[in-house]
Amino acid sequence: MSTPKHIPLIETKKLCKSYFNDDLETPVLFDIDLVIERGEFVAIMGPSGSGKSTLMHILGFLDHHTKGQFLFQGEPATKMDEDTLAKIRATRVSFVFQAFNLLPRTTVFQNVLLPLLYHPTIPAAEREGRVQRAIEAVGLSERSTYLSNQLSGGQKQRVAIARALVTQPEVIFADEPTGNLDSASGTHVMAALQALHRAGHTIILVTHEQSTAEHAERILKIYDGKITDDLRSFKRRHAKDGITIEK
């Protein structure tokens, strides 16, 4: 008897990415080999322009790579049609952007509700409860009827985190989630991500700051589109905030 072959959550083999603008090719990622397991908290670290966001967009199904392989639970992304991609985005991965990307002139509640509208299996009757719990988890219950433009940067990012966790996805990607925030708000956001990790979610965080990266268990260093280091985080930071996220 042979034991079934282990299938990692995310695996890339010689993954490359170039941008094309008017036939001008800009190569950004070169031969990325990477394995991320379920339940990991990984920080991707590197200087500005090194390709962190590009890599994360590909892993989060928001963009296509141009060469090599990207396997999600063993399935090659290149074989997936648009509907499958949409379904994965709706159910298994979610994103926290540096620029928040909330719907303008829309309430906190409506913003957090948004992914549930496109979720194929969560019944409509469960929506309100889920949205309320997600908003509570990031400490914004008092603000749920506020419009997105009536919030501070830190509050906006917490709305974005609530939106990312409302569907309880397996993987949450966060692209410099503290980049636009003061340090107090940043701590709050990192605490929320650590709470999500404790609740069992796989977290992939992009940052260019060592101190932020140290909240993760593992740090991938990327430089000029290549992975240069893959380290355990020794002195792991804990952002204490009293945030608890149910499993």
Binding site: L62, Q110, P115
Partner: protein, 405 residues
């Protein structure tokens, strides 16, 4: 995505982009409203005018000397012999010659100067004139040169005000006449001249004007084919007047023979072109409204492309996005179309109602093609420019759409 969610999302989208929704709707309201308004006013008046003209039977003809229309000219070319010759044509019936009496009409201290037709009873039938009170002229009146007169309703009012004219004695020139009949009102401002005509027997007019050879006017009806009748009359009169006119050049003739149907046709063409002109002007506002809609839709593309990127990032499929934008566009254009249509109809109706106060009965007429064309155009523009950018944006990857500037 659930259908109800899509609908709800679309309505939320409209609320969130209130200004854009308002301006788009306004563009459609103005476009549809102005076309419906202009065209309905055009067609209402067209129908009004044609109704007036069509009170005359289409196969009624009139023949008169060329130049008769010119004031002060006394051109006599149509003879008693012509009248008899025309009467004998097989394509002609109901012939009524007329001689105009150029005298004043007096009753008591009241005096008027109307057209006075010395004619026969056939004229009334040809002109679709009905008797209101009393009786029309008869063959016996003509044969016996009776001193009787039939008054148009306006002439009766001018002379008698509130008195009953029947049996009263009026003076025409130096001769006394008994009023035997008053015609029924036609009730149209276009026919107001007809309403004040006074009619006396042909033979009486002939004697009063000392005519021995010429008539001023002939009214008749064709027995069926108007073109045949016109050809017969023209050929006959050219022959009798020794006119060589093989090219059919109306300048060479010394008479005019034409049917009311021709006049109706000409008026119809004129009013039709007025309607078309109004429609053209309205189409310009439709176009302006349309360009406005395009502008608003295209300007909002940046923000909406980011919105589409975000929706795709959280799991929206291309068709969810398209359906949402389709609903949005349908709501706006339908709302705008319906308001524009109702506004145009109500405004047009009120204007026609006001006009009717001055012009008598006007029926509000709205042609279906104007409604359909204007709705189709503005809704088409609204849909196209609502959906087309959304379709393009939905084909981008979420990141391309989110980074769209």
């Amino acid at each position: 995505m659930l259908f109800s969610d899509t609908l709800h999302t679309a309505l939320e989208g409209l609320k969130r982009n209130r200004m854009r929704s308002l301006l788009t709707t306004l563009g459609i309201i103005i476009g549809v409203g102005s076309v419906v308004l202009m065209v309905s006013i055009g067609t209402s008046f067209q129908r009004y005018i044609l109704d007036q003209v069509e009170t005359f039977s289409g196969d009624t003809f009139e023949v008169n000397a060329k130049g008769m229309e010119q004031v002060g000219k006394d051109i006599n070319t149509i003879t008693f012999g012509d009248v008899e010759a025309i009467r004998n044509l097989s394509t002609v019936k109901n012939i009524a010659p007329a001689i105009f009496v150029t005298e004043r009409v007096q009753y008591g201290t009241k005096q008027i100067a109307p057209y006075i037709f010395g004619t026969t009873k056939e004229l009334f039938a040809n002109w679709s004139m009905k008797i209101g009170e009393g009786r029309l002229l008869t063959d016996a009146d003509v044969k016996g040169a009776a001193s009787v007169a039939v008054l148009g309703p306006q002439a009766a009012e001018d002379l008698f005000e509130n008195q009953n004219p029947l049996g009263k004695r009026i003076t025409i020139g130096s001769r006394k006449f008994t009023v035997v009949g008053i015609l029924e009102e036609i009730g149209s401002p276009l026919a107001s001249q007809l309403e004040s005509i006074v009619y006396v027997p042909f033979t009486v007019a002939k004697a009063m004007m000392g005519r021995t050879a010429y008539v001023d006017y002939i009214s008749l009806q064709s027995t069926g084919d108007n073109e045949m009748t016109e050809l017969d009359i023209t050929t006959l009169l050219r022959q009798r007047h020794n006119i060589e006119n093989p090219d059919n050049d109306p300048d060479k003739d010394d008479f005019i023979a034409r049917s009311f149907a021709q006049a109706t046709e000409i008026i119809g063409t004129v009013t039709m072109s007025i309607t078309l002109f109004l429609g053209l002007i309205a189409s310009i506002s439709l176009l302006v409204g349309g360009v406005g809609i395009m502008n608003i839709m295209l300007v909002s593309v940046t923000e909406r492309t980011r919105e589409i990127g975000l929706r795709k990032a959280v799991g929206a499929r291309g068709r969810d996005i398209l359906l949402q934008f389709l609903f949005e566009a349908v709501c706006l254009t339908l709302l705008g179309g319906i308001i524009g249509l109702m506004g145009g109809v109500v405004l047009g109706f009120v204007l026609v109602l006001v006009a009717a106060k001055f012009l008598g009965t006007i029926h509000y007429t709205l042609s279906l093609w104007a409604v359909v064309a204007s709705l189709a155009t503005s809704i088409g523009i609204g849909l196209a420019f609502g959906i087309f950018p959304a379709r393009k944006a939905a084909q981008l990857t979420p990141i391309q759409a989110l980074g769209y500037e």
